[in-house]
Each structure stands twice: as structure tokens, then as C-alpha cells.
Amino acid sequence: MTAHLPILQVIIPLLAAPLCLFIRIPRIVGIFAILVSATAFLISCGLLQEVITGGTLSYQLGGWAAPWGIEYRIDKLNGYLLLLVSGISTIVLVAAQTSISKELPENRHTFFYTAYLLCLTGLLGILATADAFNLFVFLEISALSSYTLIAIGTDRRALTASYQYLVMGTIGATFIIIGVGLMYMMTGTLNMYDLAERLPAVYESKTVLSAFGFFIVGVCLKLALFPLHLWLPNAYAYAPSITTAFLAATSTKVAVYVLIRYIFSIFGIEFVDMSLPLGDIFLFLGLTGIFVASVAAIYQLNIKRLFAYSSVAQIGYIILGLAIGTELGLTATLLHLFNHALMKAAIFLAIGAVVYRIGSAQLSHYAGLGKKMPWTMAAIVAGGLSLIGVPLTVGFVSKWYLVVALLDKGWWPVAVLVLISSLIAVIYVWRVVEWIYLTPPRIITDEIKEAPMSQLIPIWILVLANIYFGVDTRLTVGVSKLAAQSLFGVN
């Protein structure tokens, strides 16, 4: 049984998704979805444990040997991210039970959970698989279900946002299969590790270079790297809050994983160095993204849009770590992947709790809520402090590693820019604080009260995780370092 864990992780949510449609009764479907996601989480805990002690796990689908059959391979990098995705998904689902009852009409609840589990399947599949084409299939499973999750809400702007995401996401995914196809032409294989062995022989060819180019553009569309981020702010702002919390915490992170996997495990650092000035491109786009998106965040009226722009900025930091091109830089990237997922899940869930109570994500409606919903607001502020990078929060840990990596490389001007950009984060977080605590309430009602426990508990689990991993960094830093070492060691 334990030998099959790598595939069970993906298969269980995949099979559970259609079952939701048979169960039908929304309350039971919700609990069923939590159980499924929790199972995936337990499996991923077991897998990570096994990978850290026993090394990389390889699973042959259907018993077909690797280059011919599809292989699933769990190493430190994806073991770590599997834990993150399934963990966040479980916590978000707990909050979903009450939140969607307010935001979605009753008859859509079952569909919501079905699409949610499919999206989870896709994300876990992308992480687990070692087959380039299989990765594309899972990418599309997760993408198609996230279009549904976004459009399922009642705000009509969610429909156009979802449409826009569909068009850009499909272009991105198509670019990725063009890349896979061109690599297949040159090597005749689709297994990632087999590709890594065969590609060096054809490094010189233009076909491999264009495969790489298509691939990078496709993935950067998916991970919303500035200036390919246009789909993201609207999609996050108008989707139901639970969708936003889940996607913001996981889907772009998984796309970053795909980028890291392709650069380090398939093409290899040497190829990237000699073919494209990728480090410079990422440095430029990362920094511009950080500044443009942070400044844009300041001017938002919708709090979800504000934090969506902040997500684009945080992706800039993640890419900046990659641009450095050293082991330390990669460690910072991996840390920020994990930490940013924790912050954004906490913030968006807290916003979801407010939407549950007041039915709006307009910043102006938050006036005076600091008194009415103290715990929820404290969670938003704690998440905001983490975004800024205040000590004792996870945000500090990853920014610290990023700055250390930049200084180690000798890029001190960039390090200064990173610190300045944190000050812009102070401005947009301060705007939120100002509305919450310092503005007299607009809507005078006594009905507004603290969010229900079923939402407060998941929110505060995430907030405490934000603080816990900001103090005790053994797990996050330890695994990130190990993963970064193994990625550099392989090549």
C-alpha cells in the first residue's frame, strides 16, 4: 500500500470529484471534500517524511518501466510543495463550508466542491509527475477547473475575468505543449529525467532553443510574471473568496515549481546559461513587477484586488531569487513560495470572513470594522505585516534569505531596491489599517459581528503558522536548502 502513495495522492481527489455529483447534498459533499483533501494531506506528510529519510521515490504507473510508461517521482522539492498544496487546500475547505453558503446559490455548492477537488487533483498531479506531457494534462485539469471556480460566483465581472484567464491560460498551456513537442522531436522521450540525459547531445540545435523559449513564455503566463499578469488581478478580485484564497496560495506557486523543474531538472543550468540571458531577463521583469504591482496595489479600492496586485509583486520576489542563479537564491525562492502561500491564504480567508458578514470587498466598507470584527481584522493585519517582512513573521525569513543571497552575489543595488519595495508594501498595508481602525464606520448596524468560529479557526491556524514558521524555521529553511542543494547537485 505505501508503495502506491505517490499515485494515491492524485487519484483519490480525482475519483472523489465525480462522486460529489452523486452525493448531491451540499453539507455532506462539503465534509466529504474535507476528508478527501485531508487524506491527500496525510499522504503528503508521509511522502515527505519518506523522501527526507530515504531519498527520492519513483513510481511506475501501471508497472511500465520509466521512459516508456509514465513515472511519478517524489523528491525533496515536490514533496515539500505537495505538503503545502494539500495542507492549504484542507484548511481552506474547512472555511469554505460556511463561506460559500453566503456567496454562492445553494444549487452551485456541489459543483463548487467538484471543481475544487478537480483543481486540487491537477495541482497535485503537476507536482508529482515526472512526465512532460502528463504535466501538461494536469496543468489543463487544474486550469479548466479554476476557470469554473472563478466564474461560479455571482458577480458578473467574475465571468469576464474568467474568460480573460481562459484565453491567456490556454495560450500559455499551448506554448508549453509546443515546447514539449519540439523537445520530443529532438530526443524521442517525454520522461523528464530521460530528457535531461538526452538533451545535452542536442544543446546546439535551434529546435531545443525554441522549445525552451516557448516553454518559458508559456509558464510565465501561467505564473503571472509581470507583464504577463493581466489575467490575475480581476480573476482574484471577483472570484468567490474561497476560490481566491485557494488559487492565490497554490496555483501560481505550482507554476513556479514547473519553471524550476524545467530549468534545473530538464534543461539544466548550463544550457540556460549558454542559450538565453535568462537571469538578466528575470532580474529586470522581477524588479519591474515588484514596483509596478506594489504601486498599483496602493490605488485599489477593492481589498481583494489590492492583495491580488500584491501577489503579482510577491511573484516578482520569487522570480528574483531565481534570477540570482545561486543555491542561496534558489533557497530564498523556495522559502518565499511556501511563506507567501501561508500569508495570502490567511489574508484572503480573513477577507472571505468579512465578505461573509458584510457582503462586500470594498475597502470603504471596512471602515470601523476593527471594533466589530477584532479577530478577523487582526488576522488581516498580521498577514499584512508578514507581506511587509516584519521580524517574527514568515515574510521576514524569506526576505532575509533573499537579501542575503543578493549580497552574496554582490548585487547590493538590487538588495537596496528590494528593501525600498518593502516600504511600498508598508503603504498599501497601512491604507488597509487606516480604513479598518482609524475611519469612523459608514454602515451603522449592530448585526455585524465577529466571523463564525468555523472560519476564525482556519484563519488563525494560518496566522499562527505565519508566526510559527517565522520563528522556528527548521522545517521550511531546512527542506528548502536540501531541495536547492539537490537541484544544483543533479546538474
Binding site: 469576464t160 499551448t174 513537442g181 522531436m185
Partner: protein, 141 residues
């Protein structure tokens, strides 16, 4: 060199650019989806033609033939075709709902309506002068 001999790639490139152009240039949401489909189809051609081996036959074992085409890209692209259908169906379903919600499928119309929504949000936030001490300049036009 052999420009005509590589005609399959020319077809792929031309279709891809036509599709991409339609997606970017057209305002009508349905036409955009048509462009997206053409764009995806060009990739199907890329995969299908790469599996063809000159002078070879279909990959069905038979004593009379020695040379077979590679079936794997064809199988892969079957999957991609299914994905393409799902994407188009999803896109069309969204367009139907967009039409119901906005009464239009022209991008510019929808944008105007969205901007009006946003303007209302803005007025609600900063419009009434005495309501806020944050931005009490004359922004309530």
C-alpha cells in the same frame, strides 16, 4: 534550403499566427475563441506531422511492411484535442453567461460597463465629502 519540403511546418506556423492574430485583434468574444481554436489546432498539426516517417505505413504490425510511423505523437495529440474541446466548450459557456449578464459579447461594450461599475465603487468610497477624512479633495464629480 528545402522550403517546399517542409510545407507541414509552414502550415503550422501560418495557422498559429492566424489564430494568435484573431485572439489579439478581434473584439467579439466568440471570434476570439475561434482564433484560440485555430491556434490550438496548429499545434495538433505539429504533433501529427512529426510522427510521420517518410515512406512508412500506419503502425499496424504486418509481415509485408518494415517501416512504421510513430504512433505516440498521434496518441498524445488525441489527449490535447480533448483538452481543446473542453477549453472551447468552457469558453463558449462563459460567453453565454457573459451575454446574459452584460447583454453584449463585444469586449469594448463590456469594458465600458465594467468601468461604470468601478466608477460607482469609487464614488461610493470617496464621493460624499464629509464621509471621509482620508481623501477629502474634490473628487465627487
Amino acid at each position: 534550403m528545402n522550403i517546399i519540403g517542409l510545407y507541414n511546418y509552414w502550415i503550422v506556423v501560418v495557422l498559429m499566427l492566424i489564430g494568435f492574430f484573431i485572439v489579439i485583434a478581434h473584439e467579439n468574444l466568440i471570434k476570439k475563441l475561434v482564433g484560440l481554436s485555430i491556434f490550438q489546432t496548429s499545434v495538433f498539426f505539429l504533433y501529427i506531422s512529426m510522427g510521420k516517417v517518410a515512406g512508412a505505413t500506419a503502425p499496424i504490425l504486418d509481415e509485408n511492411y518494415q517501416l512504421y510511423s510513430n504512433p505516440l505523437p498521434h496518441v498524445l495529440i488525441l489527449t490535447a484535442i480533448v483538452v481543446g474541446i473542453a477549453t472551447t466548450a468552457m469558453g463558449l459557456a462563459l460567453v453565454v453567461r457573459i451575454y446574459e449578464a452584460y447583454g453584449s459579447i463585444e469586449e469594448s461594450d463590456i469594458q465600458v460597463q465594467d468601468n461604470n461599475d468601478r466608477l460607482e465603487d469609487y464614488l461610493e468610497a470617496y464621493g460624499r465629502k464629509n464621509d471621509t477624512h482620508l481623501f477629502n479633495q474634490d473628487k465627487d464629480e
